[in-house]
């Protein structure tokens, strides 16, 4: 077994541990921090069921972003939807027999790679062309787009230009999952692709990619509009409640 196989194997073990542990820690922090006051952005649903529907629309349709900026919505939605299909398609490299969902998007998934790239390029153009966006962008904001573009680009190159030994790649990942390492093909494009993916996984819990769990914990979106009907009291506020006075 080559040194590179070992390096990539360890890299992916590290990446998955950092990703999962980092996200668990963040989600735990969000879940444990109370929202002491009712602050849904209204008009808001008055029931829990309504809140679930509102979050569903935010996650799937980007409802608020649609109200806010049609270009961001279009490029953002194309990127996210493309990425989702591409990810589902990639399940074929991790499952044996191949999961139904992965098989289902086998053909369309390839083109979704282009859709994803189109969305990313649109977002990059908007970030670099609009003066307001340039002002609010840090280097990390451009780098994040560059990273995703490089991942998508290297993936598409492997599909259409310099094909990699995908059977061996699958054997490598199945081996990783079974703790029975198999050699990774010697292919620079593949190494770049995998290196960048691992980097993305490691960066995830320390970056703005926290918008993924964040949305579900956002009090302006996940609270029902029912403050008159239900008394809402956070633990630290309940302590104040016991001693509340006019103080005069």
């Amino acid at each position: 077994m080559s040194v590179l196989t070992a390096i990539f194997a360890l890299l992916f073990y590290t990446a998955i541990v950092v990703l999962v542990a980092g996200l668990v820690a963040k989600i735990r922090q969000y879940a444990r921090t109370p929202a002491p006051l009712k602050i849904p952005t209204t008009p808001a649903p008055t029931t829990r069921g309504g809140v679930v529907a509102r979050l569903f629309r935010e996650v799937v349709l980007f409802e608020s972003l649609f109200k806010g900026s049609k270009w961001s919505w279009l490029f953002g939605w194309l990127f996210h939807f493309g990425l989702l299909i591409v990810l589902v398609r990639h399940l074929r490299y991790f499952t044996e027999p191949i999961w139904f969902a992965a098989a289902l998007v086998q053909d369309i998934g390839v083109y979704m790679g282009f859709v994803m790239l189109l969305g990313l390029l649109g977002l990059l153009a908007r970030r670099s062309l609009v003066d307001r966006l340039r002002y609010i962008s840090a280097p990390s904001d451009y780098l994040m787009l560059a990273l995703l573009i490089a991942i998508g680009g290297s993936g598409l190159l492997m599909k259409f230009v310099a094909r990699t030994d995908i059977v061996a790649v699958k054997a490598f990942f199945l081996g990783l999952m079974r703790f029975d390492w198999q050699p990774l093909p010697a292919d620079a494009l593949l190494w770049i692709h995998l290196l960048l993916v691992a980097a993305l996984m490691i960066i995830f819990p320390f970056s703005k990619l926290l918008h993924v769990p964040g949305l579900f914990f956002s009090p302006t979106r996940n609270q029902a509009d029912d403050p008159r009907e239900r008394r809402h009291l956070a633990p630290w506020a309940a302590k104040l409640d016991a001693t509340r006075t006019l103080g005069n």
């Binding site: 006051l37 602050i39 209204t42 608020s64 003066d131 403050p227 506020a237 006019l246």
Partner: protein, 500 residues
């Protein structure tokens, strides 16, 4: 110490609203007067800048990150998509990029990243993390007092990030290191001491109400009462103290009295809780907000009322509707058949639906009326049973009382409404340039319906909006008396008599 207001040019209103190109530091000179020790200390804040301010500020920030989930979520989640960048009326009116909601958040976020995140600790330049410094504090003070906490940005944010929460946190941290804002803190201290923002003691209040009774008697020859501290009344009315004397607010109060009179429901004001406004929300301080609100619970208990109705006031309605149950509930001592609290518009609307009120709309035929949705009512509360009732009910009242009603452009009303420019604790003369410029989007929308539909009056249900428009309308060549209370129009058209 902040300088007095400087000269500035009133913006020219555009026919088609434009998004201005950024003009860095365009409002870097704008900041309100700082609170003196006598404004700080009654609220439990240090009188002046503390010696170890940096440590104290970071401690406070850490504490708040653990107490308010909105903070870590909002500070982490922003992807800088830019959807909010053209939504703030202060950005649209001043072009200062730090008035873009995301940039305003970044003033706090960059410090959060530096001191509380791994990425900011090790790669500050990469992620735009910045050490807390005197300049940062100065920027916080300036730009957290150029946000009216109106939540318009939160409507468009894909993660619901609400800059109002960040502004409140920024102000809370500042107050705790001794850098408070004079206007809000002085007012809160007055409420703690006397019971209202204006510092009106009971005799002055009684005198004012007596004067109102005489005025109404003279005007319509009906004996409408404006009772004070009447034990055993059915309803306690809590209204912003501006309603007692300011124009056009007082005409709204006159209108409430007519509605109560005509409905035959006994009611009272309280001299102890003579203020619906609660500036505790503006400075983001839970304890002060609770303490201010507690007066109302106390008054309701002491007077033995069965219901609490809240007068026309935007942020007060947010505190009452969204926070009272948390802060001063439960309200198990009140009549469960009515919502607690109830907005005066809900109260009147309910009476109309029950056929208890009759209107002569012709009384308002000299007016073409539009309605300014107040930010806190629109985006932080509700009226009635249905989401969006806060838009429908005030309009239903106006349409019941007026023959001529038109709405402003759809992207400037309902949840998209623009702040008047004076909300969130900024309604002070030391910020007049900001207030005038921040009114631009609303002025443009208003001008359009004046030109196209002949609108003569704009009704509002917020004391701050009413005061702000009275001040800024003349800057744009419009009459200050264009702004009216909803219950003024209701009262003017209400048929008074014994038949109900």
């Amino acid at each position: 110490m902040a300088k007095a207001k400087q000269e500035f040019a009133t913006p020219v209103l555009a026919d088609i609203p434009i998004i201005p190109a950024i003009a860095p530091d365009a409002m870097a000179h704008s900041k309100p007067f700082k609170a003196k020790p006598e404004h700080q200390e009654p609220l439990g804040f240090p009188g002046e800048l503390v010696g170890n301010w940096k440590e104290k500020a970071l401690d406070k920030m850490g504490e708040m990150l653990g107490k308010y989930r909105s903070l870590p979520v909002f500070l982490d989640a922003c992807v800088k998509c830019g959807a909010c960048t053209d939504k703030c009326h202060y950005y649209l009116g001043t072009a200062d990029p730090k008035n873009m909601p995301v940039a305003r958040q970044d003033l706090l976020r960059k410090v959060y990243r530096r001191h509380f995140t791994v990425a900011g600790k090790y790669f500050p330049k990469l992620v735009g993390a910045v050490e807390l410094s005197e300049e940062v504090i100065e920027d916080w003070y300036k730009y957290y007092h150029q946000c009216s906490e109106c939540r318009r940005c939160s409507v468009y944010c894909p993660y619901g990030i609400d800059t109002a929460e960040i502004t409140m946190a920024g102000r809370e941290i500042l107050a705790h290191i001794g850098v408070g804002q004079k206007y809000s803190n002085e007012i809160i201290a007055k409420v703690h001491k006397i019971g209202n923002n204006l510092g009106l003691p009971k005799p002055a209040l009684a005198d004012t109400l007596e004067g109102l009774e005489e005025e109404v008697q003279e005007d319509i020859e009906v004996d409408v009462k404006y009772p004070l501290d009447q034990e055993g009344a059915e309803v306690l009315l809590v209204t912003p103290s501006a309603d007692f004397f300011a124009e056009p607010h007082v005409d709204g109060l006159i209108g409430y009295g007519k509605v109560f009179h005509q409905a035959g429901i006994s009611w009272t004001l309280s001299s102890f809780a003579s203020e619906a406004a609660n500036f505790g929300i503006f400075i983001g301080n839970y304890e002060n907000m609770q303490k201010v609100a507690m007066r109302i619970r106390q008054a309701a208990l002491d007077l033995g009322v069965k219901r609490i109705v809240v007068g026309e006031c935007g942020h007060a309605w947010r505190v009452a509707y969204s926070f009272w149950n948390t802060l001063i509930g439960p309200f198990d001592f009140l009549d469960p058949n009515y919502p607690v609290p109830q907005h005066v518009c809900e109260f009147t609307y309910d009476l109309i639906n029950r056929g208890a009120l009759k209107f002569d709309k012709e009384a308002n035929d000299d007016k073409v009326v539009t309605f300014h949705d107040s930010c806190n009512v629109s985006r932080a509360s509700r009226m009635g049973d249905m989401p969006g009732g806060q838009f429908m009910i005030p309009r239903a009242l106006l349409k019941a009382a007026c023959n001529h009603y038109v709405d402003m452009a759809p992207d400037t009303i309902h949840e998209h409404t623009f702040c008047c420019g004076g909300g969130g604790g900024l309604l002070t003369d030391d910020l007049v340039e900001l207030r005038v410029k921040g009114a631009v989007p609303r002025m443009e929308a208003l001008k359009k319906v004046i030109d196209e539909d002949g609108v003569t009056h704009m009704a509002a249900i917020c004391a701050i909006c009413k005061s702000q428009f009275t001040k800024v309308l003349p800057y744009y060549g419009m009459g200050m008396d264009m702004i009216v209370s909803v219950h003024q129009l209701v009262g003017d058209a209400l048929v008074m008599g014994a038949e109900h």
